[in-house]
Symmetry: C2
Subunit: 485 residues, 2 copies
């Protein structure tokens, strides 16, 4: 039994990685069991390790409280068994708020309590495009308004997606077929590198584990291979604090999988993941039953953003509308709405008490469409989404709740302190608000497209009428004036 | 028994009116039964007469075939009974196509076979505004694109509708209360004059018989009064070939009426109306059951114009979306959408195989909003609605049928001859059509807002791609080229 003390101090919610060399006969990906128990005082957490190629094994762990942690490895391979050691977990680094979790039924927050207001985008296959484009995508994300990205583990075969990926998740056997029992460490290291870079940018990686747009066979593996894949994925990636598990994109288009398969996938992940990262699954036509206990939030494809409040009430979980059609001009209806329309949808989802996702699909001479490959953004919506994000972040902590006041315009807010009304395609020339009399409010007119905030003079209370500009996409923000009520 | 031969030749689908003076004791509106049987050879049609004030009785009849008609009156009042006579029905005058009826399950046509493509508007209380404004409304209608107008028999009490009408349908009793057994002939003559003027303009009068926006008590009459009202109305107005019976506006907001009342109203009208004019009823939240046999067509309030095809399939009757929100800028959401939005809704309804209605609600210094009072039109939509009407009229006879071709854009057409696709909020930069190979088509790009039709060069067949302008509200028209296939 060997003991090792690492000098390295790992930050809270950072990654401690154990490197464990061992010569193994047979297939090290399936023939070796490896785990490690990390403990701090009487608390112990056992996590699975994984084979990272010939003779190389690793265990990754995300410590969630500062202090001195101990570990012991367990394996049926004597070389890997009984390794012990300790390391110190220090305070989190700048910008590290920990993993995102569900807060207050309908919202999200980082582990340190900072609210997380999901503003998603979609670049399904961005990690399969080669370094030049992938780095450009990361560069774009640095200044884009998005704090979550939906991305597939497996490559994508679909219109505008004809290129082969640089790496594959599996090795091929001698017959040239995929060997679903032998993972390709290069693929996984590349994926982890990109996930880690997103983490540094403060962007959650909504990892899509399965999807139907496949020409390689990854959508048609047998159940044993599927489960092995999931466990390997979780062992490698769960320690990244920015990982979310999206079991599929358009799960209901994957004909080879039954509902029992999807339920089992959730269960396998739930069993394997020591951190209980956020879990959901994205639909094409039919929602998965978000009421099932292993689902942490809704991940919705729908154009009916006005149903957001209904979905909250039905599922009693955070509502993320990950796909509501994309800004662009391709043939497909899901990818050719205007910037105005997708911004309108972001606002509808927001005032319904939910969170919305962006995508962009402009025809490109080299088929570099943001929605799938990343690159640069061309659309008009990101600036307006940034404006909305800023408004939300300037709002009350921990998200908006649909208003219970009887105002016939959708609105969100927090108690009597704050309210935000969105008029959408209604464009009144004047509007009468009927609010409670108890408080006085500062009132601002917001042009969601022009990104202007115009304060109205004076304070308002009870029933009052304001002039409005007979324009679409206007919002009104009311904040309780200090020093009254 | 007296015999009279009128010299007057009545045009086909015109009105023959018998004037029958008689001194009657008591209440001539309820104490006298009067009808007349009109016959041509072996065909006989009995219609009810009505009291038109002191000592004045009338019977109105719309002859529907040319020839010499005979008539005999029937009454329990000897002075009115047994009057006989004849008149000649001649050919219809210019612009007179007869009454509109249902054609081919989902469409309408005039009695002479001319297709009637419903393009409605709404001026609920226009006949209660006094001559100056009413004549201005008629002047506006002369050049407006509308061939149907929704209008209430009773006056309207609602926001922007504070004025008293000039005429009331009833006399008051000595206590100053309405006497629902004594009609006010002045009111009715005025209404008939306006209906007749609409008829001259070729505009159908969709008469709304009840509505909830009432401060006079006309929405709360007892059942006997309701039925008397309906029979009197039918006796007076059914002979006008442009009359439709709309049993209510927002029937489901009339708390005093039960579903049994609505069913009875339909039955009373169906029994009384010799011509079986079109009958429907308009909802607020809940549709009346359009499947009931006395309903001739759907009269829908809804914003879900994309459900038009579903409503056709469900109800198997023509679908008229009479209210889909109005162009304007008032506070209420139903009256503040843009011209673009209502035109979009007209197109959605049209490519769903239905017919749509317009309304306009711009804030006006004297509260003259077209939707209720008429006057002049201020909006941007009527010109585009006229453009759409012209396109429809230029299309295949007797209306559009949703296409069965597997094209993911809503389209209507007629067999393989003609198709019209509408892209709505989809704004592709290019589009691939996959049509049958058998025929060649002329293809035109239509900008529904700019009202332009741009023919593409050449002929197209089978699978082909066209360039499109990445703009919303575009349509594509395809017409089979002559001389092929």
């Amino acid at each position: 039994m060997s003991e090792e003390t690492t000098d390295k101090t790992v930050e809270q919610w950072g990654i401690l990685e154990l490197e464990l060399p061992a010569r193994v006969d047979g297939n090290p990906f399936v023939d070796v069991a490896l785990s490690a128990t990390f403990s701090l005082k009487h608390r112990a957490i056992t996590v699975d390790g994984f084979c990272d190629g010939a003779d190389a094994f690793r265990v990754r762990f995300m410590p969630d409280v500062p202090g001195e942690w101990q570990y012991t490895t367990h394996s049926d391979c004597p070389e890997l068994d009984g390794k012990t050691g300790s390391f110190v977990c220090g305070p989190p680094g700048s910008g590290n708020h920990g993993p995102v979790r569900v807060e207050d039924t309908f919202h999200f927050a980082y582990a340190d309590g900072t609210p997380y207001y999901q503003v998603g985008t979609t670049c399904y296959a961005w990690v399969h495009q080669g370094d030049a484009l992938e780095e450009q995508t990361l560069e774009t994300l640095k200044t884009a308004p998005f704090n979550k990205i939906r991305m597939c583990v497996f490559p994508k075969a679909y219109r505008y997606n004809d290129n082969e990926p640089e790496y594959y998740a599996y090795e091929r056997n001698e017959a040239g077929e995929w060997d679903f029992a032998r993972f390709n460490p290069e693929f996984w290291r590349h994926l982890e590198k990109r996930v880690g870079q997103l983490m540094e940018l403060g962007i959650e990686a909504d990892l899509i584990l399965f999807h139907p747009y496949d020409r390689w066979g990854f959508a048609k593996m047998d159940a044993e291979s599927d489960d092995r894949y999931l466990r390997y994925l979780v062992a490698r990636l769960a320690a990244y604090r920015n990982v979310w598990w999206s079991l599929a994109n358009e799960y209901d288009l994957m004909r080879e999988k039954s509902m029992a398969d999807w339920d089992r996938f959730f269960r396998v992940i739930q069993e394997s993941d020591p951190y209980q990262r956020l879990r959901s699954v994205h639909n094409c036509r039919q929602f998965y039953d978000y009421g099932k206990p292993w689902v942490t939030h809704c991940s919705i494809q729908s154009s009916s953003l006005n149903r957001t409040r209904e979905w909250r009430n039905t599922h009693r979980k955070p509502v993320v509308i990950d796909e509501c059609r994309y800004e662009g001009n391709i043939e497909q209806g899901w990818g050719n709405i205007s910037g105005q329309e997708i911004v309108h949808r972001f606002w509808l989802g927001t005032v319904g008490g939910g969170y919305v996702g962006h995508g962009e699909t402009y025809i490109h001479p080299e088929d570099i469409l943001w929605w799938s490959k990343g690159g640069v953004l061309h659309g008009e919506s990101p600036a307006r989404i940034a404006f909305l994000r800023q408004l939300v972040e300037d709002g009350p902590a921990m998200g908006f709740t649909p208003l219970k006041w009887r105002v016939p315009v959708p609105g969100v807010g927090k108690g009597d302190e704050y309210c935000l009304f969105y008029f959408g395609d209604s464009r009144p020339g004047e509007y009468t608000f009927r609010l409670p009399n108890e408080h006085q409010y500062r009132v601002e007119l917001i042009d969601t497209w022009e990104m202007t905030i115009t304060p109205l003079e004076g304070l308002y209370s009870g029933t009052f009428k304001i002039e409005m500009p007979s324009k679409t996409a206007m919002a009104v923000r009311m904040q309780k004036a200090e020093g009254n009520g």
